[in-house]
């Protein structure tokens, strides 16, 4: 015969972002460390060699931090004005930085004074980088030029002045020793081959370019400027692959995860977005306190460092699963005890008596099965409100059985107070509201004659009333907003959209409802 059917607990679709592998991965960082710098942080660069220290350029200083240190290990402060774009060489021994006065300086990591100084730019140098042959430096400056320098001799090899505006970003190819890219405020990104006199490729970004990035394969170019992040296919001659518009303020910095699977973009809108480089969809997003200027990821994504306009450096280190100290195992019965008789193969002449599978019922189901309605309700109310779905499901079941009134009645002060506390907490939640309003009505009907006997209960009743009144106000406001929007849509829509409109407004209403109720 059919067995007892347990109460169906409705599962509601999770609102907001779904939990994916990405969210798990990107959330697995410790609480951030905040370090106050002297000015806006314009560049963060990780040393390519362990222990992966990072250089932070802010104001007129360059600080080198260790991974877990909150104090700088080393400081380079030989700048008269702001320093820009301190960048490590591939071997992690040299550091190059531009400056407001137009001078590019080269530092030894262990030294203090500049090893070399490259003069030639007439205005602030905002971008410098090593070519991958390690012996040349690329720099871009506000005098619209980008220059190539020979490190040992400190001489200018070539100068390009193709940009029509400030050159504010650039990067060098890791594969080709002669290739580099610069982005400028003239809305273009240019690819240069140092063996030629002119740029080899120009792509039109459409906005002042704030950051450029080459994929490790060298085939794809990412440019950020305005609210857009654009991916270009270099091998196809600079064809636009995809244009991403996920920020609502200027995107200032770009960064690739160490696997190359994810692209990160930081923006003045205080968000860092993580894109999948396969689908170019946002898979995760970080929020920060201030507008983001610079962003860097340590190798293996061990650390995320974000520099902001207010001079705060936000450092997040990855959590590591410390293998928990195994408790000494209790002496348990051996394996043989458990398999005893279970691996017996029935012989031909054996009768096979199957043991019925015992279904395990929850406590409330057991009580409901034996029609102990008040106890069942008590059990689900006791559950510390961690699973309001179950509580409401049991209430619904009781209502269906017509015994909700019985279950609610006859409670003493403490029991009633638990019930009211639950109501106060969840009555306005849209998914529970229909049922809980009914419960509230019943409680009021039942306990009306005894109101005024207990201060605790009276207080809770008042609180409930307050919450409900507030909710009614919200709803009226929402309806007003909806009315306004309907009017707007009505003026906007043409003949075709008559039916689509309803869909939209419904959706917006729902979103708004969620926003207010949460």
């Amino acid at each position: 015969m059919a067995s007892y059917k347990p109460v169906v607990v409705q599962s509601f679709p999770k609102l907001g972002e779904k939990i994916t592998q990405d969210t798990l991965y990107w959330k697995n960082y410790k609480t951030p460390v905040q370090i106050k710098e002297f000015g806006a942080v314009n560049k963060i660069d990780f040393s390519p060699i362990p222990p992966h220290n990072y250089a932070v350029t802010a104001s007129s200083r360059i600080h080198i931090y260790g991974r877990y240190s909150q104090e700088p290990i080393k400081t380079f402060s030989r700048f008269k004005d702001a320093a820009y774009c301190a960048t490590y060489r591939d071997d992690g021994k040299l550091l190059v930085a531009g400056s407001e006065e137009g001078v590019v300086r080269l530092f030894d990591i262990n030294g203090r004074a500049a090893l070399r100084q490259y003069d030639g730019h007439t205005k602030a140098v905002h971008v410098v980088d090593f070519l991958s042959d390690k012996y040349r430096i690329v720099s871009g400056a506000d005098d619209y030029t980008s220059k190539l320098w020979d490190i040992p001799s400190a001489t200018e090899i070539v100068s390009y002045s193709e940009h029509m505006d400030y050159v504010r970003c650039g990067c060098t190819s890791k594969l080709n020793t002669d290739l580099f890219v610069t982005g400028s405020y003239d809305h273009t990104v240019k690819v240069f081959d140092v063996r030629t006199e002119k740029s080899v490729m120009t792509v039109e970004h459409g906005q002042p370019v704030e950051s450029v990035l080459l994929f490790p394969s060298g085939g794809l170019l990412v440019s950020a400027g305005g609210r857009y992040v654009k991916i270009w296919d270099i091998l196809k001659g600079g064809q636009l692959l995809v244009s991403l518009k996920n920020h609502h303020k200027t995107v200032t910095c770009l960064c690739l995860s160490s696997s190359g699977q994810r692209l990160l973009s930081g923006s003045l809108d205080r968000h860092v977005k993580v894109y999948s480089t396969a689908s170019y969809k946002v898979v995760h997003s970080f929020d920060y306190a201030a507008s983001i200027l610079s962003l860097a990821l340590a190798p293996e994504d061990e650390t995320i460092v974000v520099g902001m306009t207010n001079g705060v450096l936000n450092v997040k280190n990855r959590k590591h699963e410390e293998s928990k100290e195994r408790l000494p195992k209790k002496k348990r019965p051996g394996y043989r005890t458990f398999v005893k008789g279970r691996n017996y193969m029935p012989k031909q002449e054996d009768f096979f008596v199957s043991k019925p599978v015992r279904s395990h019922l929850k406590k409330y189901d057991k009580l409901l099965k034996s029609f102990q309605v008040t106890k069942a309700l008590d059990v689900v109310l006791e559950a510390r409100n961690r699973t309001p779905e179950i509580t409401v499901a049991v209430m619904q079941e009781l209502n269906r059985r017509g015994t909700l009134q019985n279950a609610l009645a006859g409670r003493d002060e403490t029991q009633l107070s638990v019930l009211l506390a639950f109501l106060i907490r969840y009555v306005v939640e849209p998914r529970f509201a229909p049922m809980l309003i009914k419960v509230a009505e019943m409680i009021i009907d039942i306990y009306l004659p005894v109101v005024g006997q207990s201060a605790v209960i009276d207080k809770q009743f008042l609180r409930l009333q307050e919450i409900i009144e507030k909710e009614i106000d919200y709803q009226t406001e929402l309806l007003e907003v909806l009315g306004m929007m309907d009017a707007l849509f009505a003026t906007m829509t043409k003949k075709k959209a008559t039916s689509l409109e309803e869909n939209k407004t419904n959706g917006i209403l729902r979103v708004l409802e969620q926003a207010t109720s949460n």
């Binding site: 007892y4 269906r400 869909n503």
Partner: protein, 765 residues
């Protein structure tokens, strides 16, 4: 083993129930309401009859009847003697005690005990109500088989065990109380050690030793227990239930077998739906379940639990109703809508979408949608995507809230798990009128939705409104598209008695007819559309094609009740034997359900044919010893009959496949030494082999339309009722009679022709 049966027509019949032979009929002449026999007295039985024959007042008597011992088949039994007067009419209200010493009967608030030896009646009254609000009315009674003990069931669920009742004053009773509602039936086990009781709760309670503490339960038997009985050998109990079910239960309270017919539940709200996979009829079954009922075998295939909630058997409880069900074209998806209406304003709706799982061979829940509409869902339909297998299924629901919603299957799987779910794709409305019906055209390109008095047609790709029809004012009740060659027509019926057909190409009304159509059902395999109309009394069936306003088949008065639902069930093998008149039944068969939950169908087969596999006559014939004499006699009779109405016979034979014609069977299966001469057999044999081509060419048809009405409550085929219906307007009927003689001449000629041929091979058989 013999069996008595009594009926309201005033006869008691004695049967040999293993063979199914009627042995004797006793005529009593009263309406017999209940019937009892005692082991001790073979020659007299006890019956309950109304006091007067004509007056059907609430006055019944228990009388004993002496059954005369005469060899005749029909005997009049007039020797009645009154035992108890003014008793309950239900058989459950009277019980005979230990070895027939006394009889106990209950009515209202009285227990009457009649002692046969002392010829004395003891009357034990109970007060109507007690302080605790008990309801002491008696409902049933049972007597202990070994002791002087009577158990009585009461309306408030109490069971009283009466003892010492041969004293008028010093009687005692003890009370057992578990049931919260009426005790429907009581039964003692054979030894009397345990008492069984059952009621609305559908729990069989076994009380041991009449003690309140030693009780055992068998819960969740499905529906209200109506009757309980214990087998004489004590191994089995048997309960019968309101939902057309008998449960056989082991004496250790474990279910041994369930005999289940078509569940006759409450109102059939889902209508009749065909499962495209099994071709089973799907409709409301047990509460909250869909039953899959195989029409060919008259068996329930399985029950699909839709609501998935514990059913509380309690009268007056607001249960969740399953109101809508629809299958996708291939049967991969099933959509169901359940609702629960507490008050006018409080409506709980849930739509569930079920996916057919090939591995488990059953439907699994895929998506559950709470409140798909804000008001009742009036219709739902799938878009048939026959041609493109990979086309995403689309479901449309229409609701009283003035919307129709389009639901699509979306892939919301992410990197970890594959999952498909349904979500709303489009919401459409038309001036906020309640949407009453929706249906897709055959190719799925158009969706028609009716809003009150207007039919709207939508493009199913872009969901644009294409056109509206609102010709005759009146609420649209049914809506369907034409099929195949008539797919350019859209049909609708209104509540003020119009059937309209619109042409979708010209967007104009093609024709309309004044017909109060209750049910409009298109045949999925042909252009035919069946409409059942209702006038003042009786329902009429019209079958027509949308391109022709004149129906090609009319059947007046198909049944007296209102027809609620109808459905065409595709045949596995197209039936080509049907006459021209029944051509419309060749590919699918029409079933319809009336208000009283009778499931009826149209059959092309003749009455005889319908009967042969199922009738009891067959059983009788088989049980008779097969003597050569009976064979010969039977053959002779058969031949005579065939001579008498040759044409009718050939018509019957014609629809048979030649192999299973009785004549050939006999010829092949009887031993050669008992066969009559070949010349004697020849004509029968030839007759049976005749392919009645000439019948058709002559336009001869069997004019009766046979309708087997499978009463829904009837269990098996033996209860099949057969009603023959004369058609009142049928000119071919007379034609058939006129051509009869000519035909036989023609046949004779044919026969003669055939006889000239060489039949030596017959002898070789």
């Amino acid at each position: 083993m013999q069996l008595y049966s009594c009926s309201l027509d005033g006869t008691i019949k004695l049967w040999d129930f293993t063979d199914g032979i009627l042995i004797k009929t006793f005529l009593v002449g009263y309406k017999l309401l209940a019937f009892y026999t005692l082991a001790g007295s073979e020659d007299s039985v006890f019956i309950i009859i109304p006091k007067k024959i004509e007056d059907f007042l609430d006055w019944f008597q228990l009388v004993s009847v002496k059954l005369p011992k005469t060899p005749d088949q029909e005997v009049e039994a007039k020797e009645l003697s009154l035992i108890l007067d003014d008793i309950g009419q239900s058989p459950k209200c009277t019980a005979f005690g230990r070895e027939g010493e006394y009889v106990a009967s209950v009515r209202g608030l009285h227990l009457l005990v009649y002692f046969f030896k002392k010829k004395k009646v003891n009357r034990f009254p109970l007060s109507a109500t007690s302080r605790k609000g008990a309801n002491n009315y008696f409902t049933c009674v049972a007597c202990h088989p070994k002791e002087d003990c009577i158990a009585s069931g009461h309306k408030d669920g109490k069971i009283r065990l009466w003892r010492n009742f041969n004293h008028k004053r010093e009687y005692t009773f003890s009370t057992l109380h578990w049931h919260h509602d009426v005790v429907m039936d009581l039964a003692f086990s054979v030894e009397g050690t345990s008492l069984l009781s059952g009621g609305v709760e559908s729990v069989l309670v076994q009380w041991r030793d009449g003690s309140d503490y030693r009780k055992e339960f068998l819960p969740r038997l499905g529906s209200t227990i109506e009757h309980i009985s214990a087998s004489p050998d004590g191994t089995f109990y048997c309960t019968s239930h309101t939902e057309n079910k008998i449960t056989i239960i082991h004496s250790n309270l474990s279910v041994s077998a369930v005999i289940q017919g078509l569940v006759k539940g409450s109102d059939v709200k889902t209508g009749l739906v065909v499962d495209p996979r099994t071709k089973a009829l799907v409709l409301n079954g047990k509460p909250g379940h869909l039953q899959f009922y195989c029409l060919q075998t008259d068996k329930q295939l399985y029950n699909l639990d839709i609501v998935q909630q514990e059913y509380i058997h309690q009268i007056g409880l607001n249960q969740v109703d399953l109101v809508k069900a629809a299958f996708s074209a291939q049967g991969n998806w099933l959509a169901t809508v359940e609702q629960r209406e507490e008050k006018e304003t409080e409506l709980e709706l849930q739509m569930k979408l079920w996916n057919y799982d090939e591995q488990t061979q059953s439907f699994t829940l895929n998506t559950r949608i709470n409140m798909p509409h804000e008001d009742h869902v009036t219709a739902l339909c799938f878009r048939d995507t026959d041609e493109l297998e990979d086309g995403t299924p689309i479901l449309v629901t229409a609701g009283n809230d003035g919307r129709f919603k389009v639901w699509v299957l979306v892939n919301d799987s992410d990197s970890e798990k594959q999952s498909m779910g349904w979500s709303c794709d489009f919401v459409g409305s038309y001036h906020n009128y309640p949407a009453t019906n929706c249906c897709f055209s055959e190719d799925g390109s158009l969706l028609a939705v009716s809003f009150e008095e207007t039919v709207t047609v939508w493009n199913s790709d872009t969901w644009d409104l294409i056109c509206t029809f609102c010709h005759p004012p009146g609420r649209i009740q049914n809506l369907c598209f034409g099929r195949l060659s008539c797919s350019k027509y859209l049909l609708g019926t209104t509540d003020n008695g119009f059937l309209c057909c619109w042409n979708l190409l010209t967007c104009a009304l093609e024709w309309s007819a004044q017909l109060n159509v209750m049910v409009l059902q298109p045949d999925p395999l042909s252009e035919n559309i069946a409409a059942v109309s209702r006038l003042l009394e009786g329902s009429d069936l019209f079958v027509f094609k949308p391109n022709e306003p004149r129906p090609f088949y009319i059947q007046r008065n198909v049944c007296r009740e209102r027809v609620q639902w109808a459905v065409f069930i595709p045949r596995d093998v197209p039936d080509s034997t049907g006459s021209e008149k029944h051509q419309w039944l060749s590919r699918s068969q029409l079933y319809f359900l009336t208000e009283t939950q009778d499931l009826l169908t149209f059959s092309t087969k003749s009455a005889e044919e319908r009967l042969t596999p199922s009738s009891k006559q067959l059983a009788v014939e088989e049980s008779l010893p097969m003597t050569p004499f009976s064979l010969l006699l039977g053959k002779h009779r058969h031949q005579q009959r065939s001579k008498e109405n040759a044409d009718l016979d050939t018509a019957v034979v014609q629809s048979h496949l030649p192999q299973d014609s009785p004549a050939i069977k006999e010829l092949l299966h009887t031993p050669a030494h008992v066969l009559p001469s070949a010349s004697f057999l020849c004509s029968i044999f030839i007759n049976s082999m005749l392919i009645s081509k000439e019948n058709k060419s002559a336009g001869e048809v069997v004019d009766e339309v046979e309708m087997d009405s499978e009463k829904a409550e009837d269990e098996s085929d033996e209860d099949l009722e057969l009603t023959e219906m004369e058609q009142d307007i049928n000119p071919t009927e007379f034609l058939g009679e006129i051509t009869e003689t000519k035909l036989s001449k023609y046949q004779e000629k044919q026969l003669r022709k055939i006889r000239r041929r060489d039949y030596s091979w017959v002898a070789a058989l």
